[in-house]
Amino acid sequence: MKKDGLIYTVIVSVISAFLFVFLLSLAYGATKGKVEENQRLTEARAYLVAAGIEVSENMDIEVSFNTNFPNFDTDSAYQTTNVNGKSVIVSPFQGNGLWGTITGVIGMTFDLQRIVGFEIVSHVETPGLGGRIDEAWFKTQFKGEYAANGIVVKHGGSGGDTDPDNGQVDGITGASRTSDSVQVIINQQIEKIKSELGGTN
């Protein structure tokens, strides 16, 4: 058969496309369970962190999750749990970042005065810039922060913000848009929890 002929070209293209895509779907199928498992653990871990529970490297996340959220209700917008005798409201959030959806979990004290914990589950922000919202220093800033009137993710200035009572956290250098998005997402979520709680009480 002529190597530059139409039929040969079509046959080779179809066979190679089929073969490579087939191999890909095999690889995808083989790792699917593992990926879903990772996703589930990431979410469970996020709930624990948001509830203010210390998550260490070698603890069994699933066991801890089941002890802390025995009545986990997937239909509800928020979960309540008791951590060290204090009621905590934990709620999953999602909103628009710079490039795509940011999802995560936020925990608040029952009176909605302070943030207990904040964890990102997924985002597609720029690695090294907006992607730094997933770094520990950024996320732990929210822990204990006064948020009755919402929070402000600050730009500029130097020295950083260490006061947990002013409702302000440090933004990320070079990622103002992502920092703004996080501020909007968190404030919307706090409002949402407020109205949900108001609706049921």
Binding site: D4, V12, L24, Y28, T31, W99, P127, G128, T173
Partner: protein, 203 residues
Amino acid sequence: MDEDSPVQILKNNIWYSNPIFIQILGICSTLAVTNNLTNTVIMTLGLLFVAAFTNLTVSLLKNLIPRKVRMILQTLIIAFYVIIVDILLRAYLPEISKALGPYVGLIITNCIIMGRAEAFAQSHGPLISAWDGITSGLGYMWVLMLIAFVRELMGFGTVFGITVLPAGFTPWTIMVMAPSAFFLLGTFIWVAKTIILRQEGGK
């Protein structure tokens, strides 16, 4: 010396025709990932893997592939390996996969891979092509690591996330942002070219 000997290929890809500062290929990612050494290492390892296997596969299939659809099939092969890398990261290194996000997918558009497949693998044997892919990846890696080292050190005061500069150090914001990669790359090309020209002049 034989142009196609393994040693000469290594030398060329690492220095004399380095993909970054001589061929100026694939520099888009120098801007993006090099403000952090850890991300840079993973990204360049991903590129090395994809370049090696793409070259190997293209070289193996080169006699079967009709010239007309050569490029599109190369792209298919590259995309195949990039998605494999993405799947593997997702399954076994979820943290890294989360940190790199969309950049793994962007390896597809890295010109080094396509460039080497077209310029080398199309006309050479499978093993030597794979070697060319590996050494191109290494040439890419060391330059990017050097840039990332300077950017992370000046931008955050850290190396691989470990603080090395004293607490009083004021981070250079510009080093975190994309433009600093241009400044550093430009400076780097200047230095490298000067050395190469001096070597040639000395012959």
